[in-house]
Symmetry: C2
Subunit: 158 residues, 2 copies
Amino acid sequence: MSTQADPAHLLRQAGLRVTRPRLEVLAAVHRHPHAVTDEICAAARERLGTLSHQAVYDVLRALADAKLVRRIQPSGSVARYEARVGDNHHHLVCRVCGGIEDVDCAVGERPCLTASEDHGYLIDEAEVVFWGVCPGCLALDSASAVPWAPPATTHPSP
Amino acid sequence: MSTQADPAHLLRQAGLRVTRPRLEVLAAVHRHPHAVTDEICAAARERLGTLSHQAVYDVLRALADAKLVRRIQPSGSVARYEARVGDNHHHLVCRVCGGIEDVDCAVGERPCLTASEDHGYLIDEAEVVFWGVCPGCLALDSASAVPWAPPATTHPSP
DNA sequence: TCTCTAGTCTTGACTCATTCAAGATAACCT
DNA sequence: AGGTTATCTTGAATGAGTCAAGACTAGAGA
């Protein structure tokens, strides 16, 4: 019980069999925070040679259920995964390029916020997404008029 | 300039042409808060007789761009729309049945929260989603063991 | 170490929300 | 009223994600 962070141990602790696809997918999520399924799939394939699309979906679901990865899905984006779990941090999303940054949660433990009315719900998490424009897109935006049309939502009007 | 809240006026103010599909879709969003596109489509068709799927998507996008409706999309759900705009309220989502409730924002104006680090982003909104289990599902959950399997995420373990 | 078996992975087809494209229609300006 | 152009209809396409059936293999017991 020396290496608590050993990926194989983590899998076993979660009651999951240790397989190369699972180890590589987990490693890929660590290497590529906020990556989409396809990117994780590609990264794992680089190591494994071959890995089915379906296996990646299955593994990611198993890892997410086991809380070894966290699934996030900002509006308008497909599912993304990150390996930073347990600290209930939040996210900063660029409306223009879709870039994502982690933001530490001041409170840390979930739920970090209390709803003004709980409507009788048993609340266990407050998920916060900060929307804005990243420095890179801000620079482009002030340089040229409209570099590329923003995806769905428009910029905040002055 | 008597009825500022007149739907036709609102459309015109936003630079949008006033059409029956737009009026009916807007009314449908008012009548069915948090409805998905298909439900809005069905509701509007009840009044109009016929309305294409594509028109509903176009109209909803136009209305959302004009800030006459707000598009929300909790993880794992398809896009939903609501007519309550401008007050930057938040949402309470049931992990079991997917039910959604509005939660007033104590601050009101956007962004209601400040990120601990902004990474240079120009932040204009803090979107908060409270996740939990609604009273109805809580009751079912304590009555029987597992009524239906929760969609993706599992309940908080004891 | 060998064998068995349930849990995993592969393959391939499928669903369904959403988008694209082209032509018909109708709202608004003059 | 007439022309312009945004909007709507129709029909097909995209793409993330899922389902299903069979092959494979990690891990437990002999």
